[in-house]
Amino acid sequence: MQISRSIYMRRAVFSVVASLIGVVFALPLVWFIFAPFNARAELGLAIPSPFTLSNFVTVFQNSFAMHALLNSLIQAIGGVILVGGAATLAAYALSRSSIPGKGAVTYILLLFSSVVSGSAAMVPIFLIISAIGLIDTHLAVILVFAGGLLPTAMFILRDFIDAIPRSYEESAMVAGASPIQAFFDVALPVIRPGIVVVVVWAFVNIWGSFLIPFILLRKDTLMPASVAIYSFYSEAGTPIVTLLAAYSLIYSLPVIVLYLFVNWKFGFRFFGGIKS
């Protein structure tokens, strides 16, 4: 009796503590869901009364902010195609061929990748991009993101491909397939879950990034949503909470939709991922 009571006590304490931590994390999300529909939303949590879409109406009238969503989409999709395609081919080559020192190459790239898209390299990146004359283009943003994300994407995919037996492609080649046929018919479909993970990860990274487009772009017509969100600040620099909340909700929808779509269509599979 004594023992089971102490177990109950421990469980009760654990549950209470866990719930409290959960609430702390949940509160901002609850605000995030309620505030957009509240015409008098403030930073405090309040259930909207009346429930209204007026915030959204105002946001939709802000053509700069709406166009920015399209720009975000262009940059994110462009970056994802480049990262997904290049990382797949590079990771496949690194995994299957016997290039001397390929392990070192991967790890050095990985080490430097955090530098490329990080703020430390902003000045050189700006200088390089302006020297090539790409300042103020979507391509500049896409290229910089691709450079920053590729090494990690390659690393994730290489481990994924390493875990797939070579006998798949070998059996295809023995059966008469060329290496390219073996790659597209057999290897690619098997690698696809890994590519999906990389694609989602790259999309979320680019979609949410502020600094790089902010530095590389000047024209309003090219700014992504992460930058355009500042148009919902008053001239004094204080946020207009109602509009900010509504725009944030719209801004986060594509990522949520992408996640749900991928999860429904492919399912997230991380096996073959990073080995211990």
Binding site: S167, E170, S171, V174, A175, G176, S178, D185, V186
Partner: protein
């Protein structure tokens, strides 16, 4: 169908030599098993026939044509992999028909042909399933079907039965044997299971450390193992090998070892020469040993180590004074207990002698 030939082939991986230098030839229609322990180079040799590894030196010929540097797709070969390598995203029909797809056959034609082969292998009604939805034995037959669906010069097997349970393995082995004899295909089959090699092969190449130690028909390998390595690898359980002191005295060979009572054996020139070294290895197959009275001639004695009942027969293992063990395969109802004294007799005709280096000494009159 075609012949296969290796001319002084070697293969090194960095500083590791998988195959130092082998030459052999396999005639059209032969079923050759490459038999040996893991790491003996048998799989590397097979992969060089397939073109999945390129030899570091030497030539590989298929049907008399030099294919050393030919891509696997241009070799007209079939291969069954140990892990079956079935494509997880294709159903059985597409898996089996894949070789025809890359050959540009129309979908109708290739599915009809795949169905034909699948029916022979009794997986015809599973064509719509994915590989993950069928059993291990069915996966094995699917990979076999994929190898058989198109005409090939040589069929390669890389331990295809090692992932099956014992009963399925026997069944698949029988089927492969029938299939090969029926089609007369040239087959090279890699295995570490001596029973599989004995049952399937028309000739066995026993490999050790990248070299072929003996290349002969199964019965020859069994009756006249070229070395103690072969003797110890083939047979279930393998041949008993007893190190003995040897001398020739009065025209008779005399062998001494703990527990061994062997008054004399006839001498040939070869035996006399080997005996000059003073040491030999005496080989006796477990099935050639019988229970006998203690102290009688042509016997070997020791204390019982283990008595394993196998159903029709028992495996009686005894340990001699020098802690060497000898196993006999005998029909017995005797209740022998661990530690009991056991005497096993043998016919001197069934004795195999190996010289100091482990090479077999030819029997008299051979």
């Amino acid at each position: 169908m075609a012949s296969v030939e290796f001319q002084n082939v070697s293969k090194t991986f960095g500083s590791f030599t998988a195959v130092p230098d082998i030459s052999f030839s396999i005639a059209d229609g032969e079923f050759v098993c490459l038999l040996g322990p893991s790491g003996c180079g048998k799989t590397t040799s097979l992969r060089m026939i397939a073109g999945l590894e390129t030899p570091s030196a030497g030539k590989v010929l298929i049907g008399g044509k030099d294919v050393t540097y030919l891509h696997p797709k241009d070799r007209q070969i079939s291969m069954v992999f140990q892990d079956y390598a079935l494509y997880p995203h294709m159903n059985l029909a597409d898996n089996i028909a894949y070789p025809l797809k890359v050959r540009g056959e129309s979908e109708d034609k290739r599915h009809a042909r795949a169905r034909e082969v699948a029916d022979v292998l009794k997986i015809g009604d599973l064509m719509g399933r994915l590989p993950s939805q069928i059993s291990g034995g069915q996966q094995q037959r699917t990979s076999l079907a994929r190898a058989l669906v198109y005409p090939s010069q040589v069929y390669l097997f890389d331990e295809p039965l090692s992932n099956l349970d014992a009963k399925l393995r026997l069944e698949a082995r029988g089927f492969l044997n029938h299939l090969q004899r029926d089609m007369g295909m040239t087959a090279v089959y890699v295995t570490h299971d001596q029973a599989e090699a004995m049952a399937l092969a028309t000739r066995i190449a026993v490999m050790d450390k990248g070299r072929i130690v003996q290349f002969a028909p199964p019965i020859e390998i069994y009756r006249r193992p070229a070395t103690t390595f072969v003797a110890n690898f083939v047979g279930n359980p393998p041949m008993n090998l007893v190190p003995v002191a040897a001398m020739v005295d009065g025209g008779q060979l005399r062998l001494r070892a703990d527990g061994l009572t062997l008054p004399s054996l006839p001498v040939s020139d070869a035996i006399a020469k080997a005996a000059a070294a003073g040491k030999m290895t005496l080989g006796i197959r477990p099935e050639h040993l019988r229970m006998a009275e203690a102290g009688s001639a042509n016997t070997i004695a020791g204390k019982l180590f283990a008595n394993e009942n196998m159903g029709p027969e028992s495996l009686v293992t005894m340990e001699r004074a020098d802690s060497g063990r000898v196993t006999a395969r005998i029909f017995t109802d005797d209740e022998i207990r661990t530690g009991d004294q056991v005497t096993l007799s043998f016919d001197t005709r069934h004795v195999t002698l190996f010289d100091e280096t482990g090479a077999r000494i030819p029997a008299i009159g051979e």
